[in-house]
Each structure stands twice: as structure tokens, then as C-alpha cells.
């Protein structure tokens, strides 16, 4: 087993390049911050590429990544239901391209936003402002900001779904 584990596959580079974005996004989705997601992505590929007869499917990589993430937590066990629910939500997002089509559709939808809706999204995700600071900029209460964000997100979700269906 050791000898096999020390044998790296010849096509490691394209394999990593194809899957790394999806695994990083998946780890972020599970709850990792960006740095932790980067570390676990690296570790996932090391495990997959040094494992005997690595199956090299994104499902296997996700299993490895998920195990790494759960092991790192204080309470490592997630119920099978939670895992399945996560997997379903992830499958909806990633489809067959690791989420690239969803992101592309979202980009178009964000560009089509106007006025206060666009301003709210930019303040939150580009400037990374807290709800309180956003409230000052938008001249709204904190609850008003939360409601506005929720509505804009619902619009974006519907817009992405429409784009993907067409």
C-alpha cells in the first residue's frame, strides 16, 4: 500500500485544475472560511492523488473534503440527513460544471439590477459592510436593510433559475 501511495498519477496537473474550484467552493459551502477552504482543498488532492487507485470523481473528492472538514470541527459528526440535504443543495448548484453556469447566470442577473437593489448588493458583497453600516448608507433601519437584501436575493435566485431554464 505504501508503494502505491507514493506513486503520483501522471495526469495530476489537469486533474487538480479541473476539480479544484469546485472543491474549494464546496468547502466554503460546508462552512469553511476562505483560508481553511484553501488548505483543505490542497489536502483533499494530496489524499486523492496518493490513495491507491484513486477514483478521481468529484463525488469522491467531495467525500474526502467533507471528512476533512468534519474532522476539523469540535463536533465532527453530522447526521446523514444533514449530509444528504447539503449534497442535494450542492447538486442543485454545481450541476455538471462545478457551479460555473450558475455563477455566469448570476453575473448577468447582478448586472441587470438597478438602483437601491444594486447598491445594497454592492455594499454587502463588494464593500463587505455590516448591516448597521449599510443602514447608514442607504438611509434605512437595520431591519429594513435585511428585508431589502432578502428581497434582492430572492429576485436574483429567480433570475438565475429563469436564465438556466432558457
Amino acid at each position: 500500500m505504501l508503494a502505491e501511495r507514493l506513486t503520483a498519477p501522471m495526469d495530476a496537473r489537469p486533474f487538480i485544475q479541473v476539480h479544484q474550484a469546485e472543491i474549494w467552493r464546496y468547502l466554503r459551502f460546508l462552512g469553511c472560511d476562505a483560508t481553511q477552504a484553501e488548505d483543505f482543498t490542497q489536502e483533499t488532492f494530496l489524499i486523492a492523488l496518493t490513495g491507491a487507485e484513486s477514483p478521481r470523481t468529484s463525488a469522491y473528492l467531495r467525500t474526502v473534503a467533507r471528512n476533512l472538514f468534519y474532522k476539523s470541527r469540535r463536533h465532527p459528526l453530522a447526521s446523514l440527513e444533514d449530509v444528504e440535504e447539503d449534497e442535494r443543495a450542492w447538486a442543485d448548484f454545481s450541476r455538471d460544471d462545478g457551479g460555473a453556469s450558475q455563477l455566469e447566470a448570476l453575473r448577468g442577473c447582478v448586472e441587470s439590477l438597478e438602483g437601491r437593489a444594486k447598491q445594497a448588493i454592492l455594499l454587502r458583497f463588494e464593500s463587505r459592510l455590516s448591516h448597521a453600516k449599510m443602514a447608514n448608507s442607504l438611509d434605512l433601519g437595520e431591519e429594513g436593510v435585511k428585508t431589502l437584501l432578502r428581497r434582492v436575493k430572492e429576485r436574483l435566485r429567480d433570475c438565475v433559475q429563469r436564465k438556466l431554464e432558457t
Binding site: L2, A3, L6, T7, A8, A12, R13, I16, Q17, Q20, A21, W24, R25, R28, F29, A34, E38, T41, Q42, F45, L46, I47, L49, T50, G51, A52, E53, P55, Y60, T63, V64, N67, K71, L80, E81, E84, E85, D86, E87, R88, A89, A91, D92, F93, G99, Q102, L103, L106, R107, V110, I121, L122, F125, E126, R128, R150, K153, E154, L156, R157
Partner: protein
């Protein structure tokens, strides 16, 4: 928007708007791989040499032994060895690959199911059960619940959870005016093990409720066993009585609607009066409609002379008085009650010994009566 949907959207916005893009870890992974490949010192080199020589010798002996063996058998055996590992990642890999092998690993899994190591034996039994489950599941179920077989192979109790989630999924789609992703045929697969897996009284009531609501006939042998439990039957009796009353009310309403549209009530007599509603053109009710059969009898299964069909009018219902009975359920599963509906759509549950019930029966024809 659900929490999960919002979590996914937040991440996507973080990437699209916030510019937090996935890093490129290719070079770092490749560098780490090459470090792992290169022996670090002379001791390591010697160790690798000795181990390589030993591995060569061992594989030579092994080659002679296994050269006639099916490659799948060798692979499955090796993966089952992974299940003994102290490392979680090795065990996960073993399970993952054994799942991928499917039936090709069955023979070795059967041997492993009696392994001395209880964890290996349990895992092997679960994987064997999973193989059977994968064959049973419909494509729609597999699509709606990715990798659900992993949950279902653990215990019968999880079948009830998946049945519940399926029903919720159907109801949600219906509420949104969308086509449900699952249908009755998918629920049929889940129903019998779900009823078997119901442990508490509440779970049993819940499972029975689904079987009734969606007329899941595959589960009736299991529900029939449940109904022999007197305590459960006692708690279910009011629900079954109410459902039975609702059925008669629905049937009479459909008959009246039919009369309004066609100008006359069905001409059939007795139970056929109600069954005729499934034979109109187009049918008012599907032939397997839940309304056409007493819910208690549906759950307990038919016995000789008791099919669960309702009594219907003996004569021309148009000529009946408004207080006359037009339908009746006399199944003994309702205990001392008989359920009656009049032409005026008054519905009641009366003691079957009451004179009112005798009067009603005089106007009605029992199922199967000539």
C-alpha cells in the same frame, strides 16, 4: 428562500461581486506530492529498498496464488481490508469504492458479513443491503434524494424519514403549482419498510396516514399486522371513522355533480352505484380512488365477504326522500359503529344496533348482494 439556498447564493455573490475566487493550488499540491515521493535520507532510502524487495517477493508469491482469480474479487478483497484500517480516510475510501463496484463485490461482501471484526461485518451487511435497495429505487427517487440508499441501508426507521420527506416534497410542489418530482409509484417503494420501521405510536399513525392518503397498496400487509395491535387500533379508530365519513360525503357530492352535468344519477345499484363514478366518460374518479373503499378495510386488507366497498341505493335514488339513506359503511373494523349518509348529505356514525341503521339497510344494497 431556504437557509441552504441563501447560503449557496451568498457564496456565489461573494465570488461574483466580492471577487473572492477559488485559489489555484496546483503547484503547491504537485510540490507536496514530489516531496512525498522523494526519500528524505539514507535511512529512508534503505527502508524503501528493503520494503520494495519484500513487496516484490511477496507479490511474486501472491501472483502465483491469485493469478487465476477474478480481478474484481481481488479488488473487493483489498477494499474490504481497507475497512479494517484505523485511518478513517482509508475506511471511507474502501466503502466508497465497494459502493462503486456494485454487484461485482457481492460475493466478497457476503464473506465479510461474517467477519470476526464486528465493524467490518456490520459495514459489509449494510453494503449488501444497499445493493438490494439500489435495485428497488425508482429513477425519480434517486434523483430527488441523491445517495439515499446510504441512509436507507442503515435501518427501517430511516425509510419513514425518507417517506415523510417525499410527501413533503410532493405537497410543496403542489402548493407551488409545480409538477411534483415524485408520484405514488415512488412512495409505494418506500411504504412497506416505512410502516415496518415505525416504532412509536405516533410514527405508526404517521405511516398509516401516508398509506391511506396515497393508497399505498404495497404496505397493506404491514398495516394489516399493525391493526392487530388493539391499543393502536383504539387510537386510530376515530381517524378511520372520520376518513370513512369523508369518503361517503365525497362520493355523494360527486354523484350529485354527475347528476347536474348529465341530467341523471348513475343507474347502477348497491356498491356499483359508487363504482359507476369511475366508469363515466371521462371518469369522475380514478378506478383506484381512495374514496371508493373504507379506509379501515384498505389498511387491514380484504377478507372473505369484506372488500371495503360501500353500500349503495337499492332503488332509483331520484325517488328517495331527503332523509333516506343513500350510502353506508358497515365494516366491523369500525367497532360498534356503522356510518351512514342520507340523500340530504347528512352524515352520521350510529350504533349498528340502532333501529335507524336497520331502516337505512332496507333502502340499501350491500356490496356483493344480488
Amino acid at each position: 428562500m431556504t437557509d441552504l439556498e441563501e447560503r449557496v447564493l451568498d457564496l456565489a455573490l461573494d465570488e461574483v461581486v466580492g471577487g473572492r475566487k477559488p485559489p489555484d493550488v496546483t503547484e503547491r499540491v504537485l510540490a507536496a506530492l514530489s516531496r512525498r515521493r522523494a526519500p528524505q535520507g539514507s535511512n529512508d532510502r534503505w527502508r524503501v529498498l528493503i520494503m520494495s524487495a519484500a513487496a516484490l517477493l511477496f507479490s511474486g508469491v501472491l501472483f502465483v496464488v491469485v493469478q487465476q482469480e477474478d480481478p474484481n474479487t481481488t479488488k473487493a478483497r483489498k477494499l474490504i481490508d481497507n475497512l479494517r484500517s484505523a485511518e478513517e480516510i482509508d475506511r471511507s475510501y474502501g466503502v466508497f469504492e465497494l459502493k462503486n463496484m456494485g454487484r461485482a463485490a457481492q460475493a466478497e461482501l457476503q464473506k465479510a458479513s461474517s467477519d470476526k471484526n464486528p465493524e467490518v461485518a456490520t459495514q459489509a451487511k449494510q453494503l449488501l443491503r444497499r445493493l438490494d435497495i439500489v435495485d428497488q429505487l425508482t429513477p425519480k427517487l434517486k434523483r430527488a434524494f441523491p445517495e439515499v440508499e446510504d441512509r436507507l441501508c442503515v435501518s427501517d426507521e430511516t425509510w419513514l424519514v425518507v417517506l415523510r420527506q417525499s410527501v413533503e416534497m410532493i405537497k410543496l410542489s403542489e402548493a407551488r403549482g409545480q409538477k411534483p418530482p415524485l408520484g405514488r409509484e415512488d412512495l409505494e417503494i418506500l411504504a412497506a419498510p416505512a410502516v415496518r420501521g415505525a416504532v412509536t405510536e405516533l410514527q405508526k399513525q404517521e405511516a398509516v396516514g401516508y398509506v391511506l392518503q396515497y393508497q399505498l397498496r404495497s404496505a397493506t400487509p404491514e398495516t394489516a399486522k399493525l391493526l392487530k395491535d388493539e391499543a393502536l387500533m383504539k387510537s386510530l379508530a376515530p381517524i378511520l371513522r372520520t376518513t370513512c365519513m369523508n369518503n361517503l360525503r365525497e362520493l355523494w357530492q360527486h354523484a350529485r355533480d354527475y347528476a347536474k352535468s348529465s341530467g341523471q344519477m348513475p343507474k347502477e345499484r348497491g356498491a356499483d352505484f359508487w363504482q359507476a363514478l369511475a366508469k363515466t366518460e371521462p371518469p369522475i374518479l380514478p378506478s383506484n380512488s381512495e374514496f371508493l373503499i373504507c379506509p379501515a378495510r384498505f389498511l387491514a386488507g380484504p377478507v372473505e365477504g369484506r372488500t371495503g366497498q360501500y353500500w349503495g341505493p337499492k332503488g332509483d335514488v331520484e325517488k328517495y326522500e331527503y332523509g333516506d339513506a343513500v350510502g353506508l359503511c358497515d365494516d366491523p373494523l369500525h367497532g360498534s359503529y356503522a356510518i351512514l349518509i342520507t340523500k340530504a348529505a347528512d352524515i352520521m356514525a350510529w350504533s349498528r344496533k340502532a333501529p335507524l341503521i336497520d331502516d337505512a339497510k332496507a333502502k340499501l344494497k350491500a356490496p356483493g348482494e344480488k
